[in-house]
């Protein structure tokens, strides 16, 4: 099994993702430089990591999505290749139109770094298969623009197609306003495209996947990908 980690100028969770995939999960992992437009067919999945690509200037993800690699990512996704965008990676996928909706500034207008709970809404995707329905994952967030927005029509379509994968919740998995850290509509923390081969999530699963820490909830996202086999 082989996976790729895309590096944009300003990516800063790229090393963390690489570390988890390669050294913790033992997968063959390669860097993909953002100027590289070559086909990605050799990978079983690719990760767009967190960070501040191009400084998040103008809008988070806006400049990164113009990088040559995004042409390759789009071709790959259109052929059914699996793409996981984490935090800034999610923002880039939205800007590229590979996922529905948009991310606005957090309600507090502040960057927020803390561990939150999310509940798995749709366990029937290559990204959540290993989690179980209504499983509660304790995962950190670290972002300034993670306030998910979509218009009503889009939200309805997403609901109809099971495109909401994670919602912010309390420790018992209840989706409450108090458990919403950033103002996201309907507490949405992670979404997929209709075909379920592209996922974007604001929480950082790679931060809770190293056995050095007691919490390994983030591994279930990567395990799902592993258990979904080759694409």
């Amino acid at each position: 099994m082989k996976c790729g980690v895309v590096v944009f100028p300003g990516s800063n969770c790229d090393h963390d993702c690489y570390h988890i995939l390669k050294h913790v999960l033992g997968l063959s992992t390669e860097w993909i430089w953002h100027k590289d437009n070559a086909d990605l067919d050799r990978f079983d999945w690719v990760v767009l990591p967190g960070g501040f690509s191009f400084g998040d200037y103008l809008r988070a993800g806006a400049i990164a999505r113009l990088s040559p690699v995004m042409k390759a990512v789009t071709r790959y996704a259109n052929k059914g290749g699996r793409v996981l965008g984490i935090c800034n990676g999610f923002q880039i996928l939205l800007e590229a139109g590979l996922l529905p909706g948009a991310l606005l500034n957090n309600r507090s207008q502040k960057f927020i770094c803390k561990t939150v709970h999310t509940v798995v809404e749709n366990p029937d995707t290559p990204f959540t298969r290993h989690c179980g329905k209504n499983a509660v994952l304790q995962i950190p967030i670290a972002h300034q623009q993670g306030n998910f927005y979509a218009d009503d029509e889009t939200l309805k379509r997403m609901a109809d197609h099971g495109q909401v994968l994670l919602r912010y919740a309390d420790a018992e998995g209840r989706v409450t306003e108090a458990a919403n850290p950033n103002g996201s509509v309907q507490n949405i923390a992670a979404v997929a495209n209709e075909r379920k081969n592209v996922m974007g999530m604001m929480p950082h699963p790679e931060r809770v996947a190293d056995p050095l820490w007691p919490n390994l909830d983030g591994q279930s996202i990567f395990q799902s990908l592993i258990h979904s086999g080759a694409s």
Partner: protein, 82 residues
């Protein structure tokens, strides 16, 4: 040529930044404030193209980069520079 571009949220999109500024202004005692929207204002200097060409080019820039048309709309004007 100077393109002056305004990018603002589409109506219906809750603008958390505008809302925060609104609150802050009320807190500061500006009770006459009823609403705030916060957008971007860009000035792009262009060289060596005609105004008609520029019209199309600036639209293209906005569509491709300067605005996220899922949530934002834009408008612009062109002015000659010397």
């Amino acid at each position: 040529m100077l393109a002056k571009i305004h990018v603002t949220f589409k109506s219906g999109v809750l603008d958390p930044q505008g809302k925060a500024v609104h609150h802050a202004l009320n807190d500061l005692g500006f009770n006459e404030v009823r609403g705030v929207t916060l957008g971007k204002y860009l000035e792009v200097r262009l060289d060596g193209i005609s105004e008609t060409e520029a019209q199309g080019r600036v639209r293209e820039m906005c569509d491709k980069l300067l605005a996220n048309t899922v949530i934002e709309s834009y408008r612009y004007t062109l002015e000659p520079t010397d």
